[in-house]
């Protein structure tokens, strides 16, 4: 009975109800779209960070990340192999590659530069990261390559070398002896990320292992994992690897800045959400209160007939909930349609973006929305609708039948 009365009251003043529902729907769909944009940018950023070179999880010898040194290396011990094959058998690991890296001095014609010299297993790397796609001159490493290297674009410019030139890398091997070798420059990377473009030299893993006396040894194991499995794989790896010998670091353990930035931006969105919720609540409250004040007399008659305040209050809250639910439904529909549409076509921001300061952000934003953000937003709009009923309900609770009946 409450439901039918509430629905009929909404239908009776359908114009007012429509405006309210439209306002709620507009507010919610705007929020969903903004979340879509926000999550699109953030998720792309986080995905790019992981996919370009860092990976989702890295396994090192304990303390290697903070104090890199060739002495903190890993071998293919049964413990490590078992842990890795367990992770791979879970089906949650998209790619896995072993790397060896060290600092080196690169010498060009007249100048020298300090670089990270990174040995990559080309085949494994292709399944793990997209670094090969970032080569814009020449080519990336291939299997069976000999003493060849790929350089970041800025590093190549600073060294004054171009494709086909020889670059000499000077470094120390595992025993501290000086090692120097000549590598032919076959590719140049322009990734837009400063760290890569100005400080990285990539060479074949086996070539570097030999040069550094590190045969069968690695400094990093890099895993690519979907976000939803990140935590479980981390936990499982940590439990099967002795923490005295191994550290298992997620991307945000290594580069906390980006996650903090994302969290900060999300916090701003929550504030914005709060403001929109206030507007939604005020809109619904206005509608319900107006329709209630119009009916004070009717409420008085209903009370005189024996209808309890509880039933009247129930009717008011159900009216609010219906308006809220309709608004949320339409808002979800419109908002998700927008997100889905721009997920397909993307929003081109290249004109607004300075290419230098890209920080793993793509110039075309493809909207997407985290399920959590979606339900939080829709849920709080619905909650706002219910909260909005409290002022009218409070008025109903104070209503005296005698006064209400004579209300004009």
């Amino acid at each position: 009975m409450i439901l039918s009365l509430a629905w009929r009251n909404i239908a009776r003043s359908w114009q007012r109800s429509l405006v309210t529902v439209a306002a709620v729907a507009t507010g919610l769909s705007a929020l969903i779209f903004l979340w879509g944009f926000n999550d699109g940018v953030h998720n792309t950023m986080m995905r790019n960070l992981q996919q370009v070179i860092v990976g989702s999880i890295q396994i090192h010898h304990t303390d290697f990340f903070k104090k890199p040194s060739l002495s903190r290396h890993m071998k293919q011990t049964p413990e490590l192999m078992k842990a890795l094959s367990k992770a791979q058998h879970s089906g949650q690991v998209k790619g896995l590659s072993c790397r060896l890296d060290s600092f080196a001095l690169a010498a060009g014609d007249d100048v020298s530069e300090g670089l990270v010299l990174l040995g990559m297993d080309t085949k494994a790397e292709a399944q793990t990261t997209r670094i090969a796609e970032k080569v814009d001159q020449g080519r990336f490493l291939q299997a069976d390559d000999g003493a060849v290297c790929v350089l970041g674009a800025t590093a190549a410019r600073n060294l004054g070398v171009s494709l086909g030139d020889d670059v000499i890398f000077l470094t120390q091997d595992r025993f501290g002896a000086l090692a120097a070798d000549k590598f032919k420059l076959i590719g140049i990377i322009s990734s837009g990320e400063m760290g890569i473009d100005r400080g990285l030299a990539i060479v074949p893993l086996d070539v570097l292992q030999t040069m550094l006396e590190m045969q069968g040894r690695y400094t990093r194991v890099v895993l690519q994992i979907a976000p939803e499995h990140l935590e479980s794989v981390t936990t499982s790896l940590r439990s099967s690897l002795n923490h005295k010998d191994y550290e298992v670091l997620r991307w945000y353990d290594m580069y906390p800045m980006m996650k903090q930035w994302v969290d900060l931006e999300n916090a701003f969105y929550y504030i914005f959400l709060g403001v929109v919720l206030l507007i939604v609540a005020a809109g619904i409250m206005n509608t319900v209160l107006m329709s209630m004040l119009e009916r004070v007399r009717e409420f008085g008659v209903m009370m005189a007939l024996g209808c309890s305040r509880r039933v009247l209050a129930g009717m008011v809250i159900v009216e609010s909930m219906i308006l809220g639910a309709l608004g949320v439904l339409f808002g979800l529909f419109v908002g998700l349609t927008l997100v889905a549409w721009f997920h397909g076509v993307g929003i081109d921001l290249s004109a607004q973006m300075d290419t230098v300061a890209r920080f793993y952000v793509d110039p075309i934003v493809y909207t997407e929305i985290d399920a959590n953000h979606l339900w939080q937003t829709a849920g709080s709009v619905m909650a706002a609708a219910i909260v909005a009923a409290f002022v009218p309900i409070w008025r109903v609770a104070k209503l005296q039948p005698v006064e209400a009946i004579h209300h004009v």
């Binding site: 009365l5 009776r12 009916r295 009717e298 008659v301 005189a304 005698v402």
Partner: protein, 230 residues
């Protein structure tokens, strides 16, 4: 209290504060109704008719006095019990805007039965019965805004009677009607009183209403000054 006594109000007072003085809307009123009465409470505007009706209808409580309806000391009841007493024993017809505007005529009548928890089929049958009793057969599905003022008041009467109350209270039921419709509404109530034996108490200063009364009680300044059998 004798067997055919329905209502006994004794020494009832109600005071309102106006400015710094207290004003007695009901000033030591004694009042009785017998089963089957059809009494019109008359008197000038401000004489206290509505106030007395509200006391009897348990919509308001007197400051002084006692009130006994159908053998029950109703002033001793809790607020919730009083609401229930209203629902079970008293029917109301107000001056205007009696009806729930989103409900059809039969739904309005059935509404009080629904509050009592009656099943749908039964309450709609009863509603249709009482609507035809008040001469609204065929208009059951109209909403209040599709009915004339007189028809709306008839729906209100049907609603008041549908729950088979011991007492029907009507406050100025004819005030918003022209004299012709007022008269026919009064005749309808009088007819129902005679055929069904329901007790009516009607507050009105409308001569048309007084003409239909079995008994007329006249009020002045919060006092009952005369009581005539018509």
């Amino acid at each position: 209290m004798s067997d055919d006594m329905l209502l006994q109000a004794t020494d009832v007072c109600k005071y309102y504060h106006s400015g710094d003085s207290d004003m007695a809307a009901l000033d030591h009123v004694d009042f009785q109704l017998k089963k089957g009465d059809f009494t019109v409470l008359s008197g000038r505007s401000g004489s206290g008719k509505t106030t007395l009706l509200n006391m009897i209808g348990l919509l308001d409580t007197p400051d002084v006095g006692s009130l006994d309806i159908a053998g029950e000391d109703v002033l001793a009841l809790s607020a919730a019990k009083r609401a229930d007493f209203r629902l079970q024993r008293i029917g109301f017809v107000f001056q205007a805007y009696n009806l729930i505007r989103v409900l059809s005529a039969r739904e309005n009548v059935a509404y009080v039965l629904q509050l009592r928890g009656m099943a749908k089929k039964e309450r709609l049958d009863i509603a249709d019965h009482w609507l035809s009793e008040v001469g609204l057969k065929g208009l059951e599905h109209r909403r209040p805004d599709q009915l004339s003022g007189g028809q709306q008041q008839r729906v209100a009467v049907a609603r008041a009677l549908a729950s088979q109350p011991v007492l029907v209270l009507a406050d100025e039921p004819t005030a918003n009607l022209d004299s012709q419709h007022g008269e026919s509404l009064m005749n309808l109530m009088r007819d129902l009183n005679e055929r069904c034996g329901m007790t009516f108490l009607i507050a009105s200063h409308d001569p048309v209403a007084m003409a239909a009364a079995k008994q007329c009680v006249h009020m002045e300044d919060g006092n009952i000054v005369s009581s005539d059998i018509v």
